[in-house]
Amino acid sequence: MTSLHETPFFQMTDICKGYPMGDEWQPVLKNVNLTIEKGEFLSVLGPSGSGKSTLMNIIGCLDTPTSGEYILHGRRVDQLDENQLSTLRNREIGFIFQSFQLLKRQDALANVELPLIYAGLSVQKRRQRAEEMLCRVGLSEKLHYMPNQLSGGQQQRVAIARALATNPSILLADEPTGALDQKTGRQVMALFRELNEEGRTIIMITHDVKIAANASRIVRILDGELSEGVVEDA
């Protein structure tokens, strides 16, 4: 379907990442290979310390791999500099964090406008787009509520609206239900599935098998190595 047929939508080839630890080299990701098609809903399942945060940082262009090739939306991103990565994050990645990461002194609308400021949109366009996104996540009545006036689920919806604002290639969610109760968590997951059905590509990092089950495809990460599918006895 994609016009960039020759180059893949999302492809990681032999991605390695390690940190120096004293005299030793501590590998965190070992030859990770991952290909994602546009419109997929992928869960990356792994316990803490498995390297899933590091993988998320690299997918989210917050970090660069030590070696390997990473292609996002038809473009190599593993060797970009900080400014180029900033632009890329703004255009291609919609972050959704466990702790929402809303600016507490700004209302819902201003929070959703934030990435649009860095995208360089005019005030009116920003406002219009932010309103649309908040309506999309069902918060049309709460545009001017401050984060502390909203419930956890509503706050996460604001964060999702913010992630959608620049119309990115992928939504990247890190334990999106980690700070929510079960019921609210299920609602957020329902919203994720809806968004996926609308054609959004979603990558969700989690340690919770039940949450991961919401995705159409699951990959497991353990000790920095990625494997396809759920291992039943894990």
């Binding site: 989210g60 400014n83 900033s86 994050r89 702790s99 600016l103 934030l114 860095y118």
Partner: protein, 396 residues
């Protein structure tokens, strides 16, 4: 983008009102001190200069004590001084208090002065009525005089004094003019001892002959071109050396212009010194701003991380924080300028000197605070922009 940074900075300053105020207090005090010092010093300098100028610029004051053999300058010496290049005239300071008689009325304490005609050229408003003394009066030792309003009042109430004849030391003098009342602010005329019954002015040549004065010890020399004053001083000193046979300490020449220059230099030196001291307050204020900005960066680490994750470039983060410190210090600068002007207005009222508004001082105050904001905001802004978004996001 700049507008956004501005909005965000203002929002943050507003959210921390008390802290922001305390932070800029140092800047306020520093700028206020600088403005007040410069303005008061300039006002004071203006005042002193005005006083010096009323003492007379464009003239040299000669004190000629002379030698044991020759006390003061002879009339011939005075004539030679008058002939010097760039000298427009001289006016010896000759005066004594003596009694004066008109139609049998006796006034006991009248100050009689011997002046040069140059005095009247220099002070065109000195004569209120009648005529001034002119060169021919001097050459012919004319027995003419001008009287002041006090003497006129004492002797001639209801009579026009012009053309009347007075007896001074038994000699008949014709009154040719009436002297104007001196300006109240004129320090020179206030300093001169005045007789109780007013004063009278005659040509110095007539005075010297009348009172048998052989030597003049005090003398004012008027200079036509004040740019060449120094040359004139040299020529005058050469002539005086000759007059007194190169005797050490026989005379001194006081150049008001030179004194004024020295005064100006001293005042500006003083101003610089005080401003230097006041700048220390500004420096401390700057460190305060830096401190607050560093705290702010630490506090907002996760916000910075989030902004970076959402696509903020290091540069936009840096601009935002730099903007915040510049706004803070500029705010301090503006308040400081306002307070400084207020304080200097009060001070100059208290010291009874004219308040001089100095645009230079205002520019300096605002410029200084701007510079402080940039210099002391740079490092914290840099720190914020260099934060790694991963670490920054983790520090919740």
């Amino acid at each position: 983008m700049l507008k956004e940074s501005l909005r965000m900075s203002l929002g943050n300053i507003r959210a921390n009102k008390m802290r922001s105020f305390l932070t800029i207090l140092g800047i306020i005090i520093g700028v206020m001190a600088i403005i007040a010092l410069i303005t008061v010093m300039e006002s004071a300098t203006g005042e002193v200069t005005a006083q010096f100028e009323s003492l007379g610029t464009g003239k040299l004051t000669v004190q000629a004590g002379g030698t044991p053999l020759k006390q003061g300058l002879r009339e011939t010496d005075l004539r030679r001084i008058e002939q010097l290049d760039n000298v427009s005239g001289i006016s010896p300071s000759l005066s004594q208090n003596i009694s004066v008689v008109w139609q049998g009325q006796l006034l006991e304490d009248v100050t009689v002065k011997g002046n040069g005609y140059a005095y009247f050229r220099k002070n065109p408003t000195a004569v209120e009525k009648g005529r001034p003394l002119v060169p021919v009066d001097f050459d012919q030792y004319s027995r003419v005089c001008l009287i002041d309003s006090e003497l006129a009042h004492e002797l001639f109430s209801g009579v026009d004094p012009l053309g009347q004849q007075l007896l001074v030391k038994g000699t008949r003098f014709t009154i040719v003019g009436l002297l104007a009342d001196p300006d109240v602010d004129d320090v020179m005329s206030q300093m001169q001892a005045m007789g109780e019954d007013g004063s009278l002015m005659m040509p110095y040549t007539t005075y010297m002959r009348l009172f048998g004065v052989k030597g003049v010890t005090g003398l004012e020399v008027y200079v036509s071109d004040s740019d060449r004053t120094n040359d004139t001083v040299e020529a005058l000193e050469a002539l005086l050396d000759e007059c007194f046979n190169y005797h050490d300490g026989s005379y001194s020449v006081i150049n008001m212009e030179g004194l004024l220059d020295v005064m100006d230099t001293m005042m500006s030196l003083m101003t610089n010194l005080l401003v230097g001291i006041a700048s220390i307050a500004l420096l401390v204020g700057g460190i305060g701003i830096m401190n607050m900005m560093l705290v702010s960066v630490t506090e907002r680490t996760s916000e910075i991380g989030l902004r970076k994750a959402l696509g903020a470039k290091p540069r936009s983060i840096q601009i935002q924080f730099l903007m915040e410190s510049v706004i803070l210090s500029l705010l301090g600068g503006i308040v400081g300028v306002a307070l400084g002007l207020l304080v200097s207005k009060l001070l100059s009222n208290l010291m009874n000197i004219a308040f001089v508004f100095s645009p230079g001082a205002v520019a300096l105050g605002v410029g200084f605070s701007l510079a402080v904001g940039v210099i002391f905001g740079w490092a914290p802004a840099r720190k914020a922009s260099n934060l790694n978004p991963i670490d920054a996001l983790r520090s919740v």
